[in-house]
Symmetry: C2
Subunit: 192 residues, 2 copies
DNA sequence: ACTAGTTGTTAACCACTGGTCAATAAGGAG
DNA sequence: CTCCTTATTGACCAGTGGTTAACAACTAGT
């Protein structure tokens, strides 16, 4: 029966997001609860609802950074010093590495379109794909079919979706990633 | 305070599985609760725990049928009257069609290796893959790399994992399925 | 200095979830 | 008429996301 804590630091969106992000690195979305965040922050879980309308809103706020990180990573690969074919390989490997190194984030970014539709995350995912498609096209000697690029993207997605259950990070799947990337290069390079 | 219902029909494993399967077709694993099954069965949710040790056990019991269905579907494609290349295409399309037409089942079969490890489902998934790999090899004119077959499988998996959010069944993704299947044929057929 | 309004927080509460378990009823066997 | 096994209930546990009345703390106006 004593609302409002004596006079500790006020709770901020920043603090909540940081704590959520911290826990989100270790556990997945469903394992991070409003109460676990509140507990670590030393407040009641109800307080969080003053700053965010629901759990999803917190996590979608976090995802922005990860979409940026993915986009930047792919940009780096495209602008590298290597020859085009190597850079294309790097883009593929880079995508899979990101997915495997940020598994719970990747899940929310590209695998959890359900429930709360959340147009923002959807949009960000589409934007990331557009960037990927452009990168792939720009690194190719010939004009590629859009459908081939899309199939390639889906194949990369499939790798992450599959290996996330068997591997904790990119390092553990390094060889398989490489093999898969080379398979996709082969597929894209195919000429009749 | 009146345990044991007067004398209605006894609850059986069969009944529970049937009800769970029924609900599982409409909703996904997390939306089907022990209580929703019990309610429809007219019993208390505690009663179910007499027949199954937990929720997962019910659903893994259901999955067996779906693994069989998938395996049979692929077998049919392999034994069809068409030429090898068409049959290979049919196998790919058949796999994706199964995934899109049984989305929540597919999720549990191939996408939810987490939490309860459940070796049985794991084993069934591996067996399905082995069957797939053999089918693909048998329909190919040349000796394929195991890694290429695996990459192909992952690419199919990726398609299902991706499109499940945008489409309710195979019919709605028919064209995209076809395009993706042809892309993979191209990739497999590649010769340097 | 007093008052009014706003902002932030708490804790109790809701309706759920999966899971456990003592109590107990029904039925069969001796 | 007992004894035993089997099946079932419903109360209970710990947890979830989310809501809200009450209230403290701060701010501005007079």
């Amino acid at each position: 029966m004593s609302p409002r804590k004596p006079s500790t630091k006020d709770l901020t969106k920043e603090m909540i997001i940081n704590e959520a992000r911290k826990q989100f690195i270790m556990k997945d979305f469903h394992q991070v609860s409003m109460r676990s965040i509140a507990k670590e922050l030393g407040c009641s879980h109800g307080a969080i609802y003053y700053h965010f309308k629901n759990k999803a809103e917190i996590f979608y706020a976090i995802l922005g950074d990860y979409f940026s990180e993915l986009n930047n990573t792919l940009d780096e690969k495209v602008n590298g010093p290597e020859d085009h074919n190597t850079k294309l390989l790097n883009v593929f490997v880079g995508y899979m590495a990101f997915g495997l190194n940020n598994q719970s984030q990747y899940e929310l970014m590209f695998m959890m379109r359900d429930s709360e539709i959340d147009g923002l995350s959807q949009e960000a995912a589409n934007f990331s794909y557009e960037k990927f498609a452009q990168s792939v096209q720009s690194l190719s000697k010939t004009e590629l079919l859009n459908s081939d690029i899309y199939s390639t993207f889906i194949a990369l997605h499939g790798f992450v979706a599959h290996y996330r259950h068997y591997v904790k990070n990119y390092e553990e799947a390094k060889d398989a990633v490489d093999v898969h990337a080379k398979f996709l290069i082969k597929a894209l390079t195919y000429r009749e």
